[in-house]
């Protein structure tokens, strides 16, 4: 064996070890959460809010966090959807110059990179200025800001793929820009748009740093937009910092629920994308 093949083999082994390390650690994380969390899960956990002394080992469950998370993430996804779809349509050649589109895309990429804690701090300052305390609405707005860049870039990629011939043939028939955008482009881009929305929802439901100071924390299911709300990520954060192993088990169960939601959404996104792809004109 000459030096060239020895070098190749050494690097092949190194690459294989790295791949094993990466896949091992990632599969390990999944396994830890699913096994530990699955063992700690019970029906009472998902059907009741915490009762007194829950954080010291008392009775109750984490229904408040589950409902809070669903409210926060769905509210943010709905708000982000309307803003994102407007921007994604606007980025097309019919509406704006390529220079302006470039500026908008760059700002979105920069917003995507901003750590979510900064959005949390920003929203908190605005809340202090307006004189409101932690509430569901503030959490929703903070999450909306995080979701907009993710959703818009996904929709933008989907809309870019729409063949120009399709649009041109609608213009020939006398349709205007908006009619084409809504009735043809959005329908054609539906698979990509759906997966962008679900991706953003998954990101939103898992984010803790931005809702820590904005949505706050509460043991009750929020009754209005101006109540503080708990969420699964903040619940996991608080529970896993507590010392007693019994209470930590609850953090594992909460993580199990959160991870299942995220995995289900990612699965749903793949299935729906395949399903909607049938209606596309190739």
């Amino acid at each position: 064996m000459n030096f060239r093949t020895i070098e190749e083999n050494i690097f092949k082994i190194l690459m294989f070890i790295s791949l094993i390390a990466v896949m091992g650690s990632l599969i390990g994380i999944m396994a830890v959460v699913l096994i530990k969390g699955g063992a700690a899960l019970s029906i009472g956990m998902v059907t009741t809010p915490p009762e007194s002394g829950y954080y010291l080992g008392g009775e109750g469950g984490i229904l408040n966090a589950i409902v809070g998370s669903v409210y926060l993430a769905s509210g943010a996804t709905v708000l982000a959807f309307f803003i994102s779809i407007a921007i994604a349509i606007y980025l097309q050649r019919e509406f704006t110059s390529s220079k302006a589109a470039g500026i908008i895309r760059t700002s979105l990429d920069m917003l995507w990179g901003i750590p979510s804690i900064v959005y949390g701090v920003f929203c908190f300052i605005v809340m202090m200025y307006l004189g409101i305390g932690t509430c569901l609405l503030a959490g929703i707005i903070a999450l909306t800001m995080i979701e907009i860049p993710i959703m818009t870039r996904g929709m933008d990629e989907a809309i870019k793929m729409v063949p120009p011939e399709l649009k041109e043939s609608t213009y020939v028939l006398g349709s205007n820009r908006i009619e084409t955008a809504i009735k043809v482009v959005l329908r054609q881009g539906l698979p990509g748009i759906t997966s962008a929305v679900l991706l953003a929802f998954g990101r939103g439901i898992g984010d803790a740093a931005s809702i820590l100071f904005t949505a706050g924390f509460s043991d009750h299911i929020p009754a209005s937009l101006f109540d503080s709300a708990a969420a699964l990520p903040t619940m996991i954060f608080f529970l896993s910092a507590l010392p007693s192993p019994e209470v930590r088990d609850r953090a594992y169960a909460a993580a199990f629920i959160l991870l299942s939601i995220v995995l289900l959404i990612s699965l749903a996104s793949r299935l729906l994308t395949n399903k909607f792809s049938r209606y596309i004109i190739k």
Partner: protein, 306 residues
């Protein structure tokens, strides 16, 4: 008035186009302005402290005691650099090597399975990573790694934070790198094989060189993510703003420190301002890295890009 009259005289289809276009323009302008508004508000929030003390003093003093007017951010900044540095040290070589394997050696089907698995993991919430670090990495560091190197540690330390961060950065770097390697045109590989290069020589001298700009921007994006990551780090780093002499000691990072201390002690003068300054440093560093990544992409692949 003239515009209004022109608008009223339009037919309803035309009106719809005008109104929706204006609304879409407003949404886009809002998003473009958001970045500047955030930076401006954070800057104006940190002004009181910046007026009181010089920025050099704040950045390089290690005296952190807000009650006594000590706002040295040096220990926090150094902690951030340590944690991020350890994370990148672990994750950059490992991610690049494994993405070469996935892109160049693995078969099509295996590649697709691994790639979709990695993409799913990029979406796993950071608290979940943090919790796994508490379950697995903290005892590992406390009971095996620290005694092995002759140190004592509670397990809640800079090394643990760096390790979990490295795992969190894997999916980001690998996902981009695999795409970048796959985008290298096959003709380049064929030319290299034709002049007698082995597969590894082709990868080393041709594929990697062609993919280098993309790989470096992936690393920069991963760095930006690691630098601003909050929850997972916050859960295992120990959160003590102190200069640490070894990686087995607790420390803190900018993001983790904001997460644990924001909202408390708002009555102490300038405390609030110091928090804003930290958030400002965080956003500016991440922005600079993202802009460099973007410029590299644009320079080497021409317009558009990621």
């Amino acid at each position: 008035m003239k515009i209004l009259r022109a608008f009223i005289s339009m037919d309803s289809r035309r009106k719809k186009v005008v109104i929706t276009t204006k609304l879409m323009l407003a949404a886009s302008a809002l998003v473009c302005a958001l970045l500047f508004v955030i930076i401006l508000i954070l800057f104006s929030g940190s002004l009181p402290l910046l007026k009181q003390e010089s920025i050099i003093n704040i950045l390089f003093s290690s005296f952190w005691n807000p009650g006594k007017g000590g706002f040295g951010l040096y220990p926090i900044i150094i902690g951030t650099v340590y944690v991020t540095g350890i994370a990148m040290l672990f994750s950059v070589p490992v991610s690049i090597l494994s993405s070469i394997y996935i892109a160049e050696y693995a078969e099509g089907r295996v590649r697709n399975i691994i790639k979709s698995f990695v993409d799913v993991l990029a979406g796993v919430p950071s608290v979940v990573y943090g919790m796994c670090a508490i379950i697995v990495l903290v005892p590992l560091v406390r009971d095996y790694m620290a005694p092995f190197l002759g140190a004592t540690s509670t397990g809640f330390c800079i090394l643990t934070a760096g390790m979990i961060l490295a795992i969190m950065v894997f999916p980001i770097i690998i996902s981009i790198c695999v795409d970048v390697f796959r985008a290298v045109p096959n003709e380049l590989r064929e030319v290299s094989y034709a002049i007698g290069a082995t597969k590894w020589e082709t990868i080393k001298h041709v594929v990697f060189r062609a993919a280098f700009p993309g790989v470096s921007s992936a690393v920069l994006l991963g760095f930006g993510r690691a630098f601003g990551e909050t929850m997972a780090v916050c859960m295992v780093v120990g959160n003590i703003p102190r200069l640490s002499s070894s990686v087995f000691e607790p420390g803190t990072t900018l993001a983790a420190f904001i997460a644990t201390n924001f909202g408390e002690m708002m009555s102490v003068p300038f405390y609030y301002s110091a928090m804003m300054l930290m958030a400002l440093i965080l956003i500016l560093v991440v922005l600079i890295f993202n802009i460099i990544a973007k410029i590299i992409i644009r320079k080497s692949y021409g317009g558009g890009g990621r």
